[in-house]
């Protein structure tokens, strides 16, 4: 069986911010969302000139060099599920390799994928980290260019199958940080599962596109307020970064 190559934005042998422990991270190229607050906007277009292609076998060679120090492998983006056949093939290969099979496999995703994509990935993936850019569909559309119906479905779908590692909330001041929105988001997540791990990330200007660089950064006070709203709703596993 030949495996699917990937359009690659970058590879990082050690990352401490993309899932549990020290992880090898593959950043795929191309994302169906066009988030104003994206801090890696160069990874959004699917086929920019000079895109690097890499095979699963080539990545395995790189992963083997880093393996002794790793807890796992994460595919991030861009959007990982936009190239889900590659993700499936990579994780399948990691699990088939005697030296690599101890590594955990995680996907960092915007959640904008159909159940059949999750079904393809679930057998080879230990955890999914899903972004929820906004609970309100209109706000979500303003922030990302698309609605959030699929995202909410995906979060529920992955949670039901015990593979939702965390939900990530990116707080963008003036867009999704009102008390009312925070409260409703908190209630929705608490209704899903009070134990779900929620990571609150404050918006920072670093890396974002020029037209968005006037947006104020999230303050520690905003993060504290968000944390309080989430915990008031009964969520017991909230982390702010």
């Amino acid at each position: 069986m030949s495996s699917t190559p990937v359009r690659l934005a970058d590879v990082v042998p050690f990352s401490w911010v993309d899932g549990p422990g020290n992880r090898f991270v593959v950043f795929t190229q191309g994302c169906p969302f066009d988030c104003l607050a994206c801090h890696n906007p160069e990874t959004i277009p699917p086929h920019p000139p000079g895109t690097r292609h890499q095979t699963v076998a080539g990545l395995l060679t790189e992963i083997r060099l880093a393996e002794p120090y790793l807890q796992g492998v994460t595919v991030s983006g861009g959007e990982a599920t936009a190239q889900w056949r590659f993700v499936r093939d990579l994780f399948r290969a990691v699990r088939a390799d005697p030296r690599l099979r101890r590594l955990t496999t995680y996907v960092d995703t915007n959640g904008h994928a159909l159940p059949r994509v999750w079904d393809a990935l679930l057998p080879v993936t230990d955890g999914f980290m899903v972004d929820l850019k906004a609970l309100d569909p209109d706000v979500h559309r303003r922030l990302t260019g698309r609605g959030n119906g699929l995202v909410l479905d995906s979060i529920r779908y992955l949670h039901d199958r015990n593979r939702l590692a965390e939900v990530r909330l990116l707080l963008v001041p003036g867009h999704n940080d009102s008390a009312d929105q925070l409260e409703r988001t908190a209630a929705w997540l608490a209704a899903l599962d009070p134990e779900v791990r929620v990571v609150v990330i404050g918006f920072r200007r670093h890396g974002v596109r020029l037209e968005f660089s006037g947006t104020p950064e999230a303050t520690p006070e905003l993060l504290a307020r968000a944390r309080e709203a989430l915990e008031d709703a009964g969520l017991r596993n909230v982390v702010t970064v």
Binding site: P13, F14, W16, G21, N22, R23, L65, A66, P68, Y69
Partner: protein, 515 residues
């Protein structure tokens, strides 16, 4: 030394307003020692010493105590000491008192003991009937006593590899008290040390830069089950130690190099390794046969120390510069840490030195089969333009994975310790588990010992020991910890405080009168 010069030095010490009483006494003793002639060596050896190709690390001209003393404190607790008029310790209070008493009577170059023992293993049996709050209270007083009574950052305690209440309490106290003393190492064994303990230690590093991490099975393979990590990460047989530490400056050797790689490896290196060994031998003979340390020390008399557990440390440093120089001669420039050819040559040089040291008999070194032990020496404050030990030059380190892959193959060659320093950035704080992964991986792949640095606490690592930035800021008015003076020298010489990410250049212990 001329009498006038001796008087000038003594006067300068006595009049220095920044020194404490004990610091004055210690410096005056060093001046007196150095008024004597050093042990005799050949003219060639003396010249190598004079040119700093070989360096005795200012141990003093007339060795009258070993450089590193690692007493077997378990003997003290179990049998007591006739010299100290102490009976065997019966409870935790007695054990803690016995240790403090003994520490004040352990000789060293710095004036303070360089090894405090495996504190968790020593104390755990006495802690069984003491509840958590009481254990914390008593260990806290003990920990404070260590820092106040033994104010020197080379004073080094060991923990691990087993998970104990004493060990956990010690780590908590480290985070709470933020003291310079003790310097601390955690012995890690994949079979015995749980992830949770390693993680606890990692969180302690976040707070205060301690502990250093040690590959326990690898150390045991080289030194036997009874070993300790003392001073600036020197691993040695416990119940023994090292007579001396003399180091060879590989960068200086390479400056004298002409011609091919083979000439360097087969002529120049053997020549200078022998001159280094000659100096070590002369110093050992003085210590054992002239000063007769092992015939009069109470540590030997009471069974805490024995000559047959002794070794000597052969140190090397300046590897990076040596590699660059030899490659330049071959017409294929490359730098250690960045070019596979340079990494390969670095390993060849070290293998050659290891082989030479392993075949050179050394007197009174039965603790290591009659040979010296190789050690990667982490520098002193007067080193300029030469890289500590076998490290990649500060500020020039490759990304972490490449860094690990560069230095790891060399670790097997250094039973007496190599102590690489890895700079971790601030994202570490949010993911201590990732550091545990790196530590596990480092030991899985054959790293012997290492330390990691974070810039965001009050401590600055002068490679083998820590000083507090807040103490450095007040250095003109003196310092309670002797080592802070050495740290200030390093900061002034090498701007170690201005590096980002913080990776501090070399320093080791300089007990001479100069600071």
């Amino acid at each position: 030394m001329e009498l006038l010069e001796l008087r000038r030095q003594a006067r300068a010490v006595i009049d220095d307003p920044a020194l404490t009483y004990r610091q004055r006494v210690h410096r005056l003793a060093a001046i007196a020692e150095n008024a004597l002639e050093p042990p005799p060596v050949s003219a060639e050896c003396a010249e190598a010493l004079e040119k700093r190709v070989v360096c005795d690390l200012y141990e003093g001209n007339a060795p009258y105590r070993p450089r590193y003393v690692l007493p077997d404190y378990a003997v003290l607790l179990e049998r007591g000491s006739s010299f100290l008029e102490l009976a065997p310790a019966r409870d935790l209070d007695e054990a803690l008192a016995h240790l403090l008493i003994a520490y004040t009577q352990v000789p060293s170059i710095t004036g303070y003991p360089v090894w405090l023992g495996d504190l968790d293993a020593l104390l755990e049996p006495y802690a069984a009937d003491v509840d958590d709050a009481e254990l914390q209270r008593r260990l806290r007083l003990f920990w404070i006593s260590l820092d106040r009574m033994l104010p020197d950052a080379f004073t080094h305690a060991n923990l691990g590899p087993r998970d104990t209440r004493v060990g956990r309490t010690a780590l908590r106290l480290e985070r709470e008290l933020l003291q310079v003393v003790p310097n601390l190492s955690l012995k890690v064994d994949p079979e015995l040390t749980p992830d949770d303990l390693v993680r606890d230690a990692v969180e302690t590093v976040f707070a205060c830069g301690q502990p250093h991490f040690v590959n326990h099975p690898m150390m045991i393979a080289g030194l036997g089950p009874a070993y300790g990590v003392a001073s600036c990460y020197n691993s040695l047989p416990a119940g023994g130690g090292s007579h001396t530490l003399v180091r060879l400056n590989l960068a200086e050797v390479a400056l004298r190099h002409q011609g091919s790689r083979a000439t360097f490896l087969d002529e120049l290196l053997p020549h200078y390794v022998e001159l280094t060994a000659e100096l070590m031998q002369a110093r050992i003979l003085h210590l054992v046969e002239e000063a007769r340390f092992f015939e009069h020390s109470w540590l030997v008399g009471d069974g805490l120390l024995s000559l047959d557990r002794y070794t000597a440390m052969f140190g090397v440093f300046g590897l990076a510069e040596a590699v660059a120089r030899v490659l330049e001669h071959e017409g294929t420039p490359g730098s250690y840490g960045h070019d596979p050819a340079a990494d390969q040559l670095a390993h060849e040089i070290l293998e050659r030195v290891a082989e030479l040291v392993a075949t050179r008999p050394m007197p009174y070194c039965e603790g290591s089969g009659g040979r010296a032990l190789l050690h990667s020496q982490s520098g002193i404050d007067s080193d300029l333009g030469v890289t500590a030990g076998c490290r990649v030059p500060v500020g020039d380190e490759p990304a972490l994975l490449e860094h690990l892959r560069t230095v790891t193959p060399n670790h097997a060659l250094f039973p007496a310790g190599i102590s690489d320093v890895l700079a971790f950035d601030e994202t570490t704080r949010r993911n201590p588990e990732a550091v545990v992964d790196v530590i596990r991986g480092a030991f899985r792949t054959g790293m012997r010992d290492f330390t990691f640095n974070l810039d965001s606490n009050d401590f600055i690592r002068i490679t083998g020991y820590l000083v507090r930035k807040s103490d450095l800021a007040k250095i003109e008015r003196g310092a309670r910890h002797d080592s802070t003076f050495l740290g200030a020298g390093s900061v002034a010489q090498s701007h170690v405080d201005r590096r980002a990410p913080k990776r501090v250049v070399a320093d080791e212990l300089d007990a001479g009168p100069a600071r």
